[in-house]
């Protein structure tokens, strides 16, 4: 692993075929992300930020070009292999929090742990991670619908951290939060970065982007 970039895009393009014609979401993008980096991806709406993030998260595959995750090329992988990669090596934080409404805060964090390692010690691990994101114990048994936006995003970050991933991908993590809560969430992500996690974050808010140590700008699918 040493010296290997955590992510490498080699001339990656993504073209969506729509009835109105082809849409080029990513246009010959090459980039590398080194372990421990904190990167903000900025650009106007529709510029391809989210597509880039999805590719980084193995949620989508490129039309042309190659993507290496810790040196492993992902384009030839089966769906199950990609799923395993996401489960074990990548944590996602979404703008809409995207917690599972049926599960309590604790269970939402426990879920990926159970998927990866089974039930043993999953509860203890989930409790630790929730404590690390400073969620009040009293809220552990609450369903997402009973939590505030900031609390939900804390749970979502805890879920992303649950399997101790190398890479945390955030799509507008503060987009649905007020400034104060947003700052608290960003402090959490910055703390995780300091602890060695690689963070890539899509945002269009310069104040949020300021937390990152490097900013990638994207316009019309090209890096600028």
């Amino acid at each position: 692993m040493s010296g290997e970039p955590i992510l490498r895009f080699e001339d990656v393009s993504k073209v969506y075929s729509l009835p109105a014609g082809d849409v080029v979401a990513l246009d010959h993008v090459s980039l590398t992300v080194e372990p421990g980096e904190f990167i903000a991806v900025m650009g106007p709406s529709g510029s391809g930020k989210s597509t880039l993030l999805n590719m980084m998260g193995c949620l989508d595959v490129p039309t042309t070009g190659k993507i290496y995750l810790s040196g492993q090329e992902i384009s030839g992988m089966s769906d199950d292999d990609l799923t395993r990669l996401r489960r074990d090596h990548i944590g996602f934080v979404f703008q809409q929090f995207n917690l599972i409404p049926l599960l309590s805060a604790l269970e939402n964090v426990e879920f990926p742990i159970v998927l990866a390692r089974g039930r043993e010690e999953s509860r203890q691990r989930a409790t630790e991670v929730l404590a690390a994101v400073h969620l009040d114990d009293a809220l552990f048994s609450h369903r997402p619908g009973e939590l505030s936006g900031g609390e939900q995003q804390r749970v979502a970050i805890a879920r992303a951290l649950a399997n101790d991933p190398d890479l945390i991908l955030c799509d507008e993590p503060t987009g649905n939060l007020d400034t104060k809560t947003g700052t608290a969430i960003m402090d959490l992500l910055a703390a995780e970065n300091r602890r060695g996690k690689t963070v890539v974050m899509v945002t269009h808010d310069p104040r949020i982007a300021a937390y990152a140590r490097r900013t990638i700008r994207i316009v019309d699918g090209r890096l600028v």
Binding site: G57, L59, D79, F92, N98, I100, P112, V114, L115, A116
Partner: protein, 400 residues
Amino acid sequence: MIFLSFALRNLRRHWFRSLLSVIGIVVGVAAIASLGILGGSINLLVANLISDVGDTIVITPHTAIGGTFAGDPRTAVDATLSSREVDDIRRAAGPYRAIPVLQGADEVEFGRGETGYTRVIGLDPEDIPVLLRLEDGRYPRQNQPGALVGTYLAREYGLSPGSRITVGGEDLRVAGVLAERGFAVDINPDYAIVVPEGWYTGHFGTRDGYAMVIVRVGDIAAIDEVKDAVDNRLNRREDVVDIVDSREMLGQYQDIYDQITVFLLGIGGISLLVAAVNILNVMYIAVTERVSEIGVMRSIGVMRSEVLRIFLYEALILGVAGSAVGGVLSAAVGYAASVAAIGVFTAGTTFGEGFAVFNTTAVGYIVFGMAFGIGTSALAGFYPAWKAARLRPVEAMRHA
């Protein structure tokens, strides 16, 4: 196990919808199982009612249109066998006993001023003990006339050996009461009067009007041989007689009741099909409204096969719950329906007494109904589950 509890929670989230699906399965399973039980009971009952099996050949006058099934109304054409034909049958039957039967009807007075039009059967007194068993009294003899009355007739009019009846104005003493015979393939004397042949011909003034000849073969292996012999002798130039053996007739009855069972099962099957469509619909809605949730689950590391499992579990839980309740319900409904049907089928007889509705067949139908319910649910749940599993995570999440 986590996926099972997931499925359970999802079902509870929409408990009313789940309940409706379960009710659909309950009705379907209960219908298929209880109708199966009903059909099975009727079948068993009929097998019980048909008393003699295997060794009887019945030879009736040929009816051009009637085929060979005695229950066909077209066979009820007034045709008879002549004495010469009866002699021919006797010769063809060789060592086996051929019993010619006279059959008519007349107005009968039962002593207490009650009258009724009743079937009268004339038999050679020597043949009577071969064919019919007594419940009470004695058999009539050629020189000592007397009538035998069917058990239901005796019960209804309070007749016993020694009672006096009048047949078409002629007095006759009751010699004995016949034992219950049920749906025999040859004659059904339970509601009839049996008199010696001599008295019958004297009374009705006929000699040649035999309704049928019954051949008691005694040996099942010889049945085809005797049938062929009769057929060769009498039906050489044109069909004069129809020849049916009891096995065949039993088979024909069995066929009819088997068809009834299939028909009843078909009705049950249709209701289960409706329930299956309902489950398909419910599961489809469940998948559609949870598309973005499926996307999130896939993004955090849930495999396709695991998504498939979640939704299949949901369908199976509905199916198992519905089938369990349906199975219990069908036991009750099947029992009640069978008891009612047996009541109708055996009205006024004692054949229904001691008839056990719950037997291995009934249990078999319940198990079959439940298995069918669970299988149908799984099948109905599979397509939506498969669709859910095929969703691409990115597109699914965008669905929110």
